[in-house]
Every structure is written in C-alpha cells, then in structure tokens.
Amino acid sequence: MSSVESSASAPIAIRLSDIYKSFGPVNANRGASIQVARGEIHALVGENGAGKSTLMRILGGMYAPDAGKMEVNGRDVTGWTTAEAIDAGVGMVHQHFMLVPTLTVAENMMLGREPTSRGQLDSARVAREVTELSKRTGLAVHPQRKVADLSVGEAQRVEILKTLYRGAKILILDEPTAVLSPPEIDELWRVLRGMRERGETIVLITHKLDEVMEISDTITVMRHGQTIAQLTTTETTPAAIAKAMVGRDVQLATHYGETSSRSLELPSASLLEVRDLVVDGPRRASAVDGVGFSIAPGEILGIAGVEGNGQTELLEALAGLRPVRSGSTSVAGRDITALSVKSRGDAGLSHIPEDRHARGLVLDYTIAENLILGQQHRFTTGVRLDNDAIIDNARRQIDAFDIRPAVPSVPARALSGGNQQKIVIAREMSRGFQVLLAAQPTRGVDVGAIEFIHARLRETRNAGKAILLVSADLAEVLALSDRIAVMYGGKFAAVLNRRDASEEVLGPYMTGAEHAA
C-alpha cells in the first residue's frame, strides 16, 4: 500500500486526523484521516458503509466528532457548526438535493441570505449575480425557472451553484454522478476542472473507479470507518484502488459473458408477455405509448435509454402501481393486467423498485420488517405476524446477502445506501418468482455491492427466470442483457441482440436520432 504525501508546494486545505464517530451501536468512523491540498480534486472512495459520508458531514459541521482533530486552512476547527463551516467557505452538495421545489432557481439561491434594497427583496440583484456566476463557472441555469420543473441534472447544477454562491472555496460532492446521464457527467467534470484552475478545492465522494481515474488528483480509500490508503491517482491503478476498498481482489471488468443457459433457438414459452401497453404518466399522457415484448426463461431483457422516456411508468404499470390505459401483461401464461400488487406477487412477479427510499423500504421499519415487506401475508399465522419466522428470515437474508450491520432490529434508515439496496435485493430474490423487474438495481451502490448484485442477477437468469432490467447506466445494460431495447419517447426505438449492440450502436436510438423500422 503506497502512502503518498500531497505535493509539498500547495498548502493543506483540509486535514482531518484520527476521527472517531459512532451512532449508537454503529461505529461510522474509527480513526479516519484525510488530507487535501488546496486546488486539487480529491476522491474519497470506499464501499457503502465505509464512513465516507459521515467523515464529510463532520467536515461540513453537521456532526461533531467523538474524537480527533479537524483543521481547515491550518486553523483548528474541531467540532465546528454548519454555519461556521459555511462562513469558512466549506460547502457540501448532498446526494439528495436540499432545494425548495416550488421556488425558482434564483429564490433557492438567496434562501438564507436574502439581499434587500430599501426593505424589499432585491431579486433582480440575485438574478444578475446568479447569471454572472453561472457564466463564470459554466454551470448553465435559468434563474427564473421553478426547481420542480428542472431535470435531476439541472437541479444538481443549481445545488452546486448555490454552494458556490455562498462563497464556498472547498466543495464537497457526495456521489454527484449517481443521478446524471453520460453527457451531464462530462459537463460536470468540465466545471470541476475549471474550479480547480481557479484554485478551489474539491472533495468527491464516489465509488466509481473510472471517475476516480478520470477526474481526481489524489485519493483517500476508506474501509470499515478507517483510512486504508492515501494515493496519487497517476501512480495507481483501478485494480489497486478496488483491492484497497474491498480488502481482496475484485473482478472489475463487468463485460457480458455468453453464460446464458438460453440457447439461441427460439424460446418455447415466454415468462413475461407484454402487448401494446399504453400508460399515462404524471406529466404527460401516453408516457408508455404502445410497448410490446416478451422475455423467455433464462433471459435478461435490458432497457436502455435516457431517463424520463417512459421507463419508470412502464415498470410501475407492470408492477401494478400505475393503471394502464390499454394493453395486457401476462406472467407465465397468466393474464395479470387487472391484478393487484399483492396478487401479482403471488402470480410470480418480483420487483426491485427504482427508488428504494420512497418505495423499496419503509425507512423507519427495521431490517427484519423490511425483509418481509410485500410478503407480510406469508409471515402471518391467523391475524398475528409470526415474529420468530420474521427474525429467522432476517438472519438468513442478512447472512446470504451480507447486509451490514447484521442486526435484524436496526432501522433501515441507519444503513448505508448499498446495504439498504441489499435489503431490497435480498427480499425480492428470496420470494418464489418467475419474473423479476429490476429497476436501477445498482444505483448509488459501490463496486463490491455492484459486483455482488450483478452476480445474483446472472444466477437468477441462469436459474431459468426472466428478468426485465432498466438502468440509466448503459454499461450495466450492456454487461447483463441478452437482448437490449432502447426506449425513446414512450416507445421501443430498437430491440437488438446483445452481440449486435454497443454504445456506438445504441447512442443514436437513445437520442431519438434513429428509429428501427
């Protein structure tokens, strides 16, 4: 493990040493350290639950450390408050945006430090300043638009801009690319490089190694709340970083392997059959506009496409969470179009929802309770919930899916994103099912967990089940799918066999530039 000091020339912007922080029984940080020089982009990497976010929240003043020393620009700031951190120019952009949706971009910017002129809000000045800042940083926003109308990528730009508007010189970004499309990610890198040139310091929390290699100057690797390695990006390799993160060698290349049990001849009977489905969305009618497909046993059909082209509505309709206008769905030959969510589950449908915070988990319920959500009627004797069976089930799943902390009575809210997702995956894969709907199965999840989840999806496929995979991550769709459909404007723009598909081939369909005949 190479330990490298940051270049001696640049002054140190951030130095956290031997930070300890625990939340009840969970030790989030156990002697974590990080050191970042001014004017560099620093990647803070580690698996879910490694304590990255906690360490950065301590830096941002949201938590006080139990022990350890914090220095910013050479000043001892141990245990400072959020307000003090903001005053000192430390700004944090959270994974989940902290914007008021009903206000405009400019109004969100001035929230908390509203400039007035003669007793009245000086909105014109804010709009002017925002436009100026937007030009200088290259973060394009429209000050007068409502945040509710923005795409996720735009909302993130507003969030970053807001932090800069408040005078941040040290910017902490918590997994900023989890919600962005590839062009938006490139845009973000351009902005961050520009900031670095102006001497600003950036800490990027991430677990995507390609991002680390592309954008960072230096790297801190955390595992189990401790700092494992401090590296210089040009002197290391993705494999070395991954090994430090996970503590063992990791299979990094998630390239598609022809391991499908499905032979290339036509499948006998499909497990999932969808015909002419039309579904209205919350914002527009016919968000799904006549989609039909079938998935054979032992097959993964991947849906690629830019988010917002009807994938969410399609999945929700198949899961029974959104009414369909017309069309039909059947699972293993049985028409489920009119069935309730519960009956669909009993008919052999399993569903990993795209938003684990809103749908996939009841955050205040325990791990054990979340592991039976949707199957509560199977854990009932008479009218009573069978507590022993629920705890037994939890212990088994925690074991099989390596959910941490391995305590059934811990509320899901206390877990890291990756471990939360493991609860959802464990639950949905352990019920008897024929068809699995997997929406964004690895969103906001780290390398080790991605590898694990992908392996489980392949196993499921090889066991003869049908999987419908929807992912905003094109690499993931390419890595897992046997066939790939591209969704654009509520329709399938193309359906290709895996061997005919590549990023270059799929790209034009995703942007609507090409349609299959």
Binding site: G345, A358, R359, L385
Partner: protein
C-alpha cells in the same frame, strides 16, 4: 419493549416538569404559594378516594379519544372528529339502552352497548375515511365539518324526539346499568368512575397488540410512514385509510359509554364537550403509543380535576394554560428524549 415504554413515558414526565415550572410562575403572579396550590391540587385529585375516582372517570373517556386519534396518526390520518364520534357512540348506545327491556343484567347488555357505541363512532369516522379513499378529500377538513353536522343532528334528535321535558337529556336507561367502582370499593362513593375504565385499559392493550403484532397493524403503520412503500408492498392504501378512520371513530364512540351508561344512565346533549379535542393532545403527549396514551390521559384527567380543586385560590383557567404548556413541551422534547432513550439502549 423497555425502550418503547421509556419513549412513551419520558416525554410526559419531562412535560410535567416544564409545566410545573410555568405553573409556579403563574401561581406566584396571583400572589399564592405554589407549594400550597399544588398540595391543594394533589389533595383534590390523588389525595382522596372521591377525587381519585373523578380522575379515573375522566381518564376513561380521554383514553378512548386518545386511542382514536393515535391510531389515526399511526396510519398518517389526522382525525379531528373524535368529538362527534364520541357523541354519536354515546347516542347510539343510549338509544339501544332505551329500547332494551328493563332489568337485563349488565353482563348481557354490555356487548350490545359496545357494538352500538362502536357503530355510532365508526359511521361518523368512516364517512371521512371513504371520502378520502374514494375522492382524496382531506380528512382534517371533512372531520371538522362533520363535527358540526353530527352534533347538530344529535341535538335535534334529542330535542325533538327524545328529551325529557325541561331537560336536555333522554329518559333514564334501566337496562343493565354498568356498575360504578363505588359498588366494589366503598371509598369511591359519589365519584363517577365505573367499569368502563377497565374496558378502556383492555382496549388500549388490544390496540397495542393490533398495531405491533398483527399483519393489519404492520400494514397500517407502513401506510402512515410511507404510503408509496406500503402500496409497493401490496397494501391497499385506500382500504387502510377508510378502515382506520372507521376504527378510529369506533374507539372514540365506545368512549361514549363512560358517560351515558357508566355515569348518568341517559344521553345528554353535548356531554362530550371537549373530550374529543383533548384526545388530540392526549395522543400527541402519548406519542401515539397506546401505553403512552393511557398515561397521558391520566395526566390530563388529573389536571382537569385539579383545576376544580384549586379554583378557590387561583382561576381554574391556569390548568388550561398548563395543559397547553404540556402539549408544547412534549412537542418540543420528543426528539431529545428519543435520542436519550436510544443512547441508553445502545449502552
């Protein structure tokens, strides 16, 4: 379990301490000594059998309305209609009592009374529930409005058809009067406390069991915490809404037995006045936990009985102020208490 009890009890205790401090200041401002006023308050409530009996009587009604509001809040529903649900329950139970033949033993009539009272409350509570599930009408608005309609309707029915001339109440009910506590323990003589108190305690235990041990309770709480996740988990969210509102109404309705069949043996106009609304405070102070609700009901009952006891030296409105302070203190102290309880259970 221990943590649950702590979470249920601690906020009430903290709130009482804060209320005591504010009470000191108020009492001093009237030129009285807090010590003697509190002694008066304690003497008039817990200090003698009659006063304690009155406290238990008031605890009974408040437990039912508190449970009603609490179970609604557990499902994410704010039932402001406990007032009229309580009245409707008492009314239907009273009506049943008037129709039953004289001289039936209480053991035979009690189930009938419970069903009638529950039905009265369930109808009044169920209507907003159905309106919400079917049309998305907000239950806060509909329950408030139904309070006016239902109370006016009950007053009309009583005044036009049922009342004894010169009074605001119905004829006396002679079928299966529920025994007062004084018939078992002589010292309670004169106080209104009656066996409905035991029904309240059993009901609280049953609600706790339902919420935390049954599948329906699991689904109800999930709906209250995250409706989208409950829907994903196969729960019929609209169904939970209307069933919970009906159940909530039924709980409030059964509370009507305390006055109508346990105490007066007749239905009287506006007998419920205030007990339904105070149920909201009881549920909040009790943290929507059935055990907490019983404790909070006892606290509020003590304060309202104590107000009568100290009325000679300080205005009894002091107690209204203190009740408000308790609610505010609980609302403010809950996160802090929860943090303490969590740290303790971790240690």
């Amino acid at each position: 379990m221990r943590r649950t009890v702590e979470e249920a009890l601690l906020p009430a205790l903290v709130a009482l301490l804060v209320a005591a401090v504010v009470g000191d200041v108020l009492i001093l401002s009237f030129g009285q000594s807090p010590g003697s006023v509190y002694r008066l308050l304690i003497d008039g409530t817990w200090g003698n059998a009659y006063g304690f009996g009155q406290v238990l009587y008031k605890t009974t009604t408040l437990t039912f309305t508190g449970l009603a509001v609490a179970i609604g809040l557990r499902a994410g529903l704010f039932n402001i209609g406990a007032e009229s649900q309580l009245a409707a329950g008492g009314f239907l139970a009273g009506l049943a009592g008037l129709m039953l033949p004289m001289g039936l033993p209480a053991l035979a009539t009690l189930p009938i009374y419970i069903v009638a009272a529950a039905a009265g409350g369930a109808i009044v509570g169920g209507i907003p529930g159905v309106l919400k599930a079917r049309f998305g009408a907000h239950e806060v608005i509909t329950t408030i409005m139904l309070n006016f309609i239902v109370l006016a309707l009950l007053n009309y029915l009583t005044a036009a058809h049922l009342k004894v001339e010169g009074t605001l109440h119905t004829a006396e009910i002679h079928a299966g009067a529920l025994p007062r506590l004084s018939s078992m323990i002589g010292a309670f003589r004169g106080s209104a406390a009656n066996v409905v108190l035991f029904l309240a305690l059993i009901t609280a235990a049953a609600v706790a069991w339902f919420l935390f041990r049954t599948r329906r309770g699991f689904e109800l709480r999930a709906t209250g915490l995250q409706p989208a996740a409950a829907e994903y988990g196969g729960v019929n969210v609209g169904g939970v809404w209307w069933r919970t509102m009906a159940l909530s109404g039924a709980l409030a309705g059964i509370g009507g037995l305390n006055y109508v069949l346990g105490y007066k043996h007749y239905y009287e106009e506006s007998f419920a006045s205030g007990a339904g609304f105070l149920g909201i405070a009881v549920a909040i102070v009790g943290r929507n936990n059935p055990i907490g609700v019983v404790v909070a009901a006892f606290v509020f009952a003590t304060m309202s009985q104590g107000g009568l006891a100290v009325n000679a030296v300080v205005p009894k409105q002091i107690v209204d102020v203190l009740q408000a302070v308790v609610i505010i203190a609980v609302a403010a102290s809950v996160p802090e208490v929860r943090r303490l309880a969590r740290a303790r259970s971790a240690a």
